[in-house]
């Protein structure tokens, strides 16, 4: 009895008072001249690790079932299996740091178009609606296009959440990085920042801006000849 009581007391009190939860999603794509390359997706909850560690002591919170470490491991394994079966994808690796709650998946692709629809299908598998997001590389003219189409379904899903659950998204961020062999000549997205080397470009935005559609991460990148 005391052990359960202690666990529950810590879990409930800490999860109520630790309000400053947030997370970061980082998408990195390294594209070679021949259209092949590597992609890495990182989900970093380390800023919320105290809260997550508390929540993990409970079975459910705000009506949502709390996944166990085993559930998280299984989800990661399923993701890797799914990627391994995807066309043009190879060398799939994952890391899972449950001390800091950071998960990464990286893999190689034969052609940039091979990654189209991967995240959408993954999210659909988890019954989440994803916006349209596609990549294309016109080798002949050296142009990389990312087309992102805002989905109002995201806002609808967000609106369905309780105020307490929405807190999670308040300070959450999304970072997209593209790296190339050649220098970047121009980029259409005004919020994008080109690296000092001139060969990488970054767009940083917030989860709320993506949910409400006030930020667009579409970009047309022209590489130098």
């Amino acid at each position: 009895m005391p052990t359960v009581l202690i666990r529950q007391t810590i879990a409930v009190v800490a999860s109520i008072l630790l309000l400053s939860s947030c997370f970061q999603v980082v998408e990195e794509i390294t594209l070679k001249n021949d259209g092949s390359g590597e992609m890495q997706l990182t989900v970093n909850f380390s800023q919320s690790k105290s809260k997550l560690a508390s929540i993990m002591l409970m079975d459910s919170l705000n009506g949502h079932k709390i996944p166990s470490e085993k559930d998280i491991q299984q989800f990661m394994n399923e993701t890797v299996d799914y990627l391994k079966k995807s066309k043009g994808v190879s060398n799939v690796k994952k890391t899972l740091d449950l001390k800091n709650y950071i998960a990464t998946v990286n893999f190689s692709f034969k052609d940039l178009s091979d990654i189209n629809g991967l995240t959408k299908k993954l999210l659909e598998k988890e019954k989440s609606k994803a916006p349209v997001n596609s990549y294309a590389f016109e080798k002949t003219i050296g142009q990389v296009k990312r087309v992102y189409q805002y989905s109002p379904a995201m806002k609808k899903e967000y609106d369905k959440l309780k105020a307490r659950d929405r807190e999670l998204f308040k300070n959450a961020g999304f970072t997209s990085i593209f790296r190339f062999d050649k220098a970047i000549a121009s980029s259409s997205n005004k919020t994008a920042k080109i690296s000092p080397s001139g060969k990488a470009i970054m767009i940083k935005t917030t989860a709320l801006a993506l949910i409400f559609g006030s930020s667009n991460i579409s970009n047309s990148i022209q590489l130098a000849k």
Binding site: M1, P2, L5, I6, T9, I10, V13, A14, L17, L18, L19, S20, Q24, V26, E28, T42, N44, S46, Q47, K49, S50, K51, A53, S54, M56, L98, K99, N100, I102, A163, E167, K170, T175, I177, R179, S195, P196, S197, K199, A200, I201, M202
Partner: protein, 637 residues
């Protein structure tokens, strides 16, 4: 259907007295009776103000898409807002009947409310509205309105003979070696026949009722054109069954509303001593449940879970569970909102509970409670040894009556087995049964997290950063004699490197645990805290605290107490560096709007076990009603 429940709820929240006390209409057989004193609530906050609150707006929204109901305000219902509204539940073998009684003072408004609905006008200026599937009935005249909803007991109709009699297909026994043919049953005439027989005696005494019943039957014959099909051993005809079920409910509801509307029972609930004993005339709202465990077994397998527990039929739980009645009252005044609940126990059950509740909270805990600074606490005092000794009987009585697939004999066997396996004395020495958790402040701790820096080619490198988090500080105390088992457990923990000794106290090293945990045993008290300074002071005997007389008395005289001081919580958080941040600011504002909250279980008296929840009305609110609505405002946002 939802809109009718909403309306019934509105009726409940929107009462008084007609020429006679409406409660006289509640039969003595009612096993649940609820009431809302609209006059009291209206006096404290005019009902015209309700509509402006979030709850009032929500009720308006609940009308949903049915724009045919003419409702813009609670006042549009035509109910006398200075009356008392009653709900009661009656049942027989086959049906649950839920009834609401309201006093009207403007029936014109009620007519208007249903203006776009079909209203049947009956003799004596009586109006009636029936919902589409005929299971909800409204009947009113110029002074009273009655609503009845019938819900069938699935378990009753699972019986093969009953199912066959009513033409229900789903429980027809399947016999595979011989062909079985069941004749088609035209249920309605048979039910009407039954109904007429049941009511004939009363109808003969009351000509109004007789005429009305006749009208009802004629109307039913005119409008019902359901053809019941023959049940077959291999058929499951869901839709036909549903039609039959709805018709059965409709007939029950029709008979009940006529009875309740036109007649007054010879013996009303006002002659029921249990109801009268539990009724608090000063309450704004109250509910009374007779034989709660019987009600539970009757209700749960039916419409609550909307499924039937076949074992409920197999194991009839009519034996005494020990719970005689349950009652709750909501008391509202200018200073406080109080919820009083009480359970009347049978003498045998009360004797058992008294033994369990005989322990008092350890007075030595008081040395560690500081009234002025604490954010809240929770305490409980049970006699572990008595509890473990009474457990077999308690398990047998409680779970043996729940119908959860476990019969009384099974529960008794399980309880005896548990009793054989445990050593009550040894456990009671380790966990005596009284304990307390005190939240005495908040503290801040630095935590590391991972962020990224980017090189000239935006290659990410993980870097460790720190941030400050605010956590509650707590102290848990439990009466416990240190024994060999605990000493061996601590030794084992040290060996496995999950426990670290620091002088006379220990630290638990749980990987990833967001808080540091310290424990020790001193003066037969087991202490657990997340504050190093707390445990150091306890260890050194320098802990400074001062408990008020009021708090000491409250803790000593109640087997369970809970206290929350929202002002202290917001004050402590505001003192931290993070107090000004936006997210905590909202939390501080919410706590500032709340008054003190207390919950206490009282000592057993006359076989009654009771508990009270108090919420003080904070400044800025006129009284408990306005505060009650403001709490909803916060919740519904």
């Amino acid at each position: 259907m939802k809109k009718y429940f909403c309306f019934a709820f509105l009726l409940l929240v929107a009462n008084g007295v007609h020429a006679q006390n409406p409660a006289l209409k509640i039969p003595s057989t009612a096993n649940v009776v609820g009431s809302i004193n609209l006059g009291k609530i209206n006096g404290m906050m005019p009902i015209t103000e309700w509509d402006k609150t979030s709850l009032g707006k929500k009720l308006k929204e609940m009308r949903g898409s049915d724009t045919t109901l003419q409702y813009n305000s609670v006042q549009d219902l035509g109910i006398d807002l200075n009356s008392t509204l009653y709900y009661f539940h009656t049942e027989n073998d086959s049906m649950h009947l839920n009834t609401v009684l309201a006093t009207l003072n403007n029936a014109g408004k009620t007519d208007q409310f249903f203006a776009n609905k079909e209203i049947v006008r009956l003799a004596g200026n009586v109006r009636k509205h029936v919902d589409n599937d005929s299971t909800d009935y409204f009947m009113w005249n110029d002074v009273q309105m009655i609503y009845v909803k019938a819900l069938m007991k699935d378990a009753y109709f699972k019986d093969a003979t009953v199912a066959q009699r009513h033409g229900l297909s789903y429980n027809v026994p399947r016999i595979y070696d011989e062909e079985v043919t069941i004749d088609a049953v035209d249920t309605l005439p048979m039910l009407m026949d039954d109904l007429q027989k049941i009511d004939s005696a009363r109808a003969a005494e009351d000509s109004v009722l007789e005429n009305t019943l006749k009208e009802e039957m004629n109307e039913m014959e005119d409008t019902v054109s359901i053809i019941y099909e023959a049940a077959d051993e291999s058929d499951f005809d869901y839709y036909n069954d549903l039609k039959i079920k709805k018709r059965l409910m409709a007939v029950s509801a029709a008979a009940a509303i006529n009875e309740f509307f036109y007649t007054t029972p010879a013996i009303s609930v006002l002659s029921n001593s249990s109801y009268i004993k539990n009724y608090d005339a000063s309450a704004a709202a109250s509910i009374w449940v007779d034989k709660p465990m019987d009600f539970y077994t009757s209700l749960v397998p039916g419409y609550l879970l909307y499924k039937t527990n076949p074992l409920n039929v197999a194991f009839k739980m009519n034996e005494e569970s020990g719970y005689e009645s349950f009652a709750a009252s909501l008391l509202l005044d200018d200073r406080r909102l109080t919820m009083h609940t009480q359970m009347e126990l049978s003498p045998a059950m009360a004797a058992m509970q008294e033994k369990i509740l005989s322990r008092k909270l350890n007075k030595r805990f008081f040395k560690y409670i500081d009234t002025d600074s604490m954010l809240g606490y929770m305490s409980w005092a049970l006699d572990t040894k008595a509890y473990l000794e009474q457990m077999p009987q308690l398990l047998e009585r409680t779970y043996g009556s729940m119908g959860a697939g476990v019969g009384r004999e099974e529960a008794s066997l399980a309880a005896e087995l548990i009793s054989l396996l445990i050593d009550e004395e040894a456990i009671a020495n380790m966990i005596k049964g009284d304990a307390m958790v005190v939240f005495d402040g908040v503290y801040q701790q630095q935590v590391n997290y991972t962020d990224y820096t980017y090189d000239e080619n935006f290659k990410a490198t993980a870097v460790e950063k720190t941030k400050t988090e605010t956590l509650p500080r707590f102290l848990m105390m439990m009466s416990s004699e240190e024994n060999d088992l605990i000493r061996k457990l601590v030794k084992y923990g040290i060996k496995k490197e999950v426990v670290k000794q620091s002088g006379s106290f220990y630290e638990i090293e749980i990987p990833k645990n967001p808080v540091r945990l310290f424990f020790m045993n001193k003066d037969d008290i087991f202490f657990l805290t997340n504050s190093l300074s707390n445990i150091e002071q306890i260890s050194a005997g320098t802990f400074k605290a001062s408990i008020s007389k009021k708090e000491k008395k409250s803790l000593s005289s109640h087997p369970f107490s809970m206290y929350i001081n929202p002002k202290n919580i917001s004050g402590k958080i505001a003192q931290t560096d993070l107090g000004a941040t936006e997210s905590l600011g909202e939390m501080i504002n919410s706590f500032n709007k709340m008054g003190e909250v207390r919950m206490q279980a009282n000592a057993m008296k006359n076989n009654i076990y009771s508990a009270d929840l108090w919420m003080d009305v904070p400044a800025g609110n006129t009284n408990a009603v306005t505060y009650f609505f403001s709490l909803f405002d916060g919740m519904l946002k």
